[in-house]
Symmetry: C2
Subunit: 256 residues, 2 copies
Amino acid sequence: MDKPVILVTNDDGINAPGLIRLTEIVRSIGKVSVVAPEHSMSGTSHAITARNPLRLRLIDKEDGYEKYACNGTPVDCMKLGEQIVLRRKPDLLVSGINHGSNAAINILYSGTMAAVLESTIVEVPSIGFSLSDYSMNADFSPCEKYIRLIIDKVLENGLPQDVCLNVNIPAVNSDEIKGIKVCRQAHSRWVEKYDERKDPANRDYYWLTGVFELGDNEEDTDEWALRNKYVSVVPVHFDLTAHHAISKIKKWNMNV
Amino acid sequence: MDKPVILVTNDDGINAPGLIRLTEIVRSIGKVSVVAPEHSMSGTSHAITARNPLRLRLIDKEDGYEKYACNGTPVDCMKLGEQIVLRRKPDLLVSGINHGSNAAINILYSGTMAAVLESTIVEVPSIGFSLSDYSMNADFSPCEKYIRLIIDKVLENGLPQDVCLNVNIPAVNSDEIKGIKVCRQAHSRWVEKYDERKDPANRDYYWLTGVFELGDNEEDTDEWALRNKYVSVVPVHFDLTAHHAISKIKKWNMNV
């Protein structure tokens, strides 16, 4: 089989150490095109750029490898990577390695995972990788073994239709990681508390701060896996329908 | 019972006719606080603002009604509305009326629906309303009867835990609307095609364009309902886990 064509993106931006590490790993597996945001786009979720023109800046190109920075969001990067850079569907999209957890409710805010979902919509096998350490100096070396294994499994087995993977790796030493758990998204939320300040002109402004709150103590969740030093793998899809609620709401009498 | 406290937001911005119409409707039902983006934030999805300070600009305030513009995203508006403007949970959040459909895959890109999901996370009953007409001059009058009915039902029955509603209204005359269908998100995607141009300095740039593609002909979807002149009501949740895929992926041998 020819080497797989792999598209790489992230939301921490083109210079993030996590992206550089992920790129190194996949360059040993396939032909690699990196298209990542010029700057950090953390927390941009599934935002797209429709009102401004998009640009690609070539950074590096050699046989089997090319790297572009893009002025758009992670979702824009995925789309431009497929449509303009590759002009074909990649065989695999990988996003990350995110600096910080995208487990539990964090997936909703994550640009890293939004690129993965966008790629799933166009039927490209797609995986997001995150390390539970927000630091730019995070040690990504424990990730490599698991990233290689999961990519191998996806290339070997494919993924179920419309399903991608949200992989989170605990920030512990390599020899402390106990293995891989396939699990579900934990029920959780951020409890926000705005830091309320006054500017020099005495006008109010607010900084978003928050504390993560886990409302789910079951052992089949990604948070449980991470807290117990497992790599969590959550199969994710883009159908937001609460199917179990359809029959309940049908019982309301809404005939007009 | 006291009048319900209702928080209103959108993604088309504080001056959008759809927001003004929705505000008029809910002012006859409860005490209303509007917190909406200063400018259009269409397509911002679940983005949050953590790196810039947020501000609120008071536009109007009278007994039982207040209106603020915010420099943040729809999700920021919902959070600031709860935490700074109301300093309590509202009894209901409504978002919209969106100028354009948020049915099918559009929900993923929608700031209107992201605000609804964010509000659901903090256990506020929440509804997003959209009219399938992108025009700023859209005729919102057919919406009113259905918006009132659905709000009444939610205030009367509550919503299942962690579930909100994505309501889409077809852009047809009032007397053509056949009724309400409770349904699921249609399987669909946008097939993108970038419009490739050169700027005056001969540098490439790209405009995002796309065509909506429905890959789902079943009659239980929101797209079917809208195309057949029904108002669609999809119960939505924030658990992205593809539960049906967990057992399949567990069968991969990922022991290390």
